[in-house]
């Protein structure tokens, strides 16, 4: 059996998304900027996709949707554009959080080097920032607030609507990285008072390398790739028509099936989460214990197993046919374990033993049963040969979890 339980990293494409993409690759070759029939047909389909995505997000108008190469580009663009607009008015203070995706954090690092003052809000042990924290941090010279909709490692959903309302009432621009949220929980840019939002197609069964930056009408967007007049002159380059159409189809499908999928996936998640917590002693759940979609993504299970290291866990799981991820230093390719786990207060030695299992509607209960059978044995096998576990069991070191 091979089980894919790493849907926060990426998802397999849906049948619909594949069909739409194949069809466009085969038949829809025209350049949307061309005036002849082939071009205009591609243009019509592109604009249809734009309108469809706008409607899925609750946007006021299709021209608030800008196509990008994915979540990272949307994040980079949103931050840079807002920073530039702020600087013109002498506003150089940017508020974000300690557990954003690197697409945000590394862009903020670059902006800090360029003279912006970046303030990263601390995250609570259960994985949240609050609107009150945001409000307290807002200053006269705040150019932007950027808070992720849902965290990619621990799955906590942030109080985006409250934060949006706070930002709106103070007249501060608000961006949210909704890459993990869109297609998984309800997102409505107008109700949420969002000015800019990033999404990425491959997280909801669409293709890789394509995404969206939503920019509310009236918010200035600086051109980010210069050249032709595509994307209203903001992002030049012939559009990736097949990928964009496929993304729109995948999003439509995900949004249409949202209530049904949320119920199905969260039931699987709870079974997996609770089963592993029960079967493996000295294991801690990362992020909130709340289960409703206003606080936690339907598909995310994030655990720390004491006394074992995440990369060996994930490799042993892979050998058993289970595909998951980890936030250990060895898997992040750096000296430090996941900044998200450190931000919620996990000590480094605990964060090294993390495992993230992310489910989607393509997973089954039989797969969950299989994981519940295999993973406890994998942890036990690694603990058996772990000198850290030995010290914990002999009482030489105290258990931390």
């Amino acid at each position: 059996m091979r089980i894919y339980a790493d849907n926060a990293a990426t998802t397999p494409m849906s049948e619909t998304a594949v069909r739409v993409m194949e069809d466009a690759l085969e038949h829809l070759y025209g350049n949307p900027s061309s005036l002849h029939s082939a071009g205009q047909e591609a243009r019509a389909r592109l604009e249809e996709a734009r309108a469809q995505i706008a409607s899925c997000l609750g946007a006021a108008a299709p021209n608030e949707i800008y196509f990008t190469s994915g979540g990272s580009e949307a994040d980079n663009t949103a931050l840079r554009s807002a920073a530039l607009a702020g600087a013109k008015k002498g506003k150089k203070h940017i508020i974000s959080t300690a557990f954003e995706h690197h697409a945000i954090l590394h862009t903020l690092d670059a902006l800090a080097k360029e003279g912006f003052e970046v303030e990263l809000l601390p995250v609570s042990p259960d994985g949240f920032v609050t609107a009150a924290q945001v409000e307290a941090a807002i200053r006269e010279d705040t150019a932007l607030v950027s808070v992720m909709y849902a965290n990619n490692e621990i799955g906590t959903v942030q109080p985006i609507r409250e934060i949006g309302q706070v930002c709106r009432s103070h007249g501060v621009l608000f961006h949210t990285d909704a890459v993990q949220a869109v297609g998984h929980i309800p997102v409505d840019v107008q109700a949420d008072c969002v000015d800019m939002l990033s999404l990425s197609a491959h997280k909801f069964h669409g293709p890789k390398g394509v995404g969206v930056l939503y920019v509310r009408r009236g918010v200035t967007l600086t051109p980010f790739i210069r050249g032709g007049a595509q994307e209203r002159g903001k992002r030049a380059g012939t559009e990736n028509v097949p990928a964009i159409l496929s993304m729109a189809a995948a999003l439509r499908e995900a949004v249409d099936r949202l209530p049904e999928h949320m119920a199905y996936v969260s039931a699987l998640r709870d079974k997996l989460n609770d089963g592993l917590l029960r079967a493996v002693p000295h294991t801690a759940q990362n992020g909130t214990a709340l289960r409703d979609p206003a606080h936690r993504l339907p598909g995310t299970v994030s655990l720390c197993f004491e006394g074992v290291e995440g990369e060996s866990l994930l490799l042993r799981a892979d050998l058993a046919g289970i595909e998951v991820s980890s936030g250990s230093a060895c898997t992040s390719g750096s000296l430090e374990p996941s900044h998200v786990l450190l931000a919620i207060g996990r000590p480094a030695e605990i964060a090294h033993g993390s495992m993230r299992l992310t489910l989607s509607d393509t997973n089954t209960e039989a797969e969950v049963d299989y994981m519940l059978e295999k993973i406890p044995a994998i942890v036990a096998g690694l603990r058996d040969m772990s000198p850290v576990w030995e010290d914990l069991m002999s009482g030489k070191k105290p258990h931390l979890i």
Partner: protein, 146 residues
Amino acid sequence: MLYSEKVMDHFQNPRNVGKMEDADGIGEVGNAVCGDIMKMYIKVKDGIITDVKFNTFGCGSAIATSSMATEMIKGKPIEEALQLSNKAVAEALDGLPPVKMHCSVLAEEAVRAAVKDYYDKHGIAYDPAQFCAGDCAHCHDHGEKE
């Protein structure tokens, strides 16, 4: 795959894994905060390492390098075990990704620490310069050590 077949073999079926009740020398190196700890046990007779066991907390290559290091010193004279270099361990595994070379360094240090413990416990004189200057417990750079 990130790792060679040899690394995966030693990760999947580590050799000489376990503890040793009557070890003549025990070396423990690394740090849980950094994500890897190796503990090596040796049994010595007439200057020969007759048996060796290890326990490791760490990533796939940490487990594989400890396993390979135990194979490379088992049955060898102590002087030879002290010659074991991290590069030799990595080469025996058909190479390691550059970010994982520190694991082979740790394996080399674990062997040395076990030998040093053996010398200390048995009152055998040695040149302290041969051994780790005391920074073994620090996080290693995940870069290549030449």
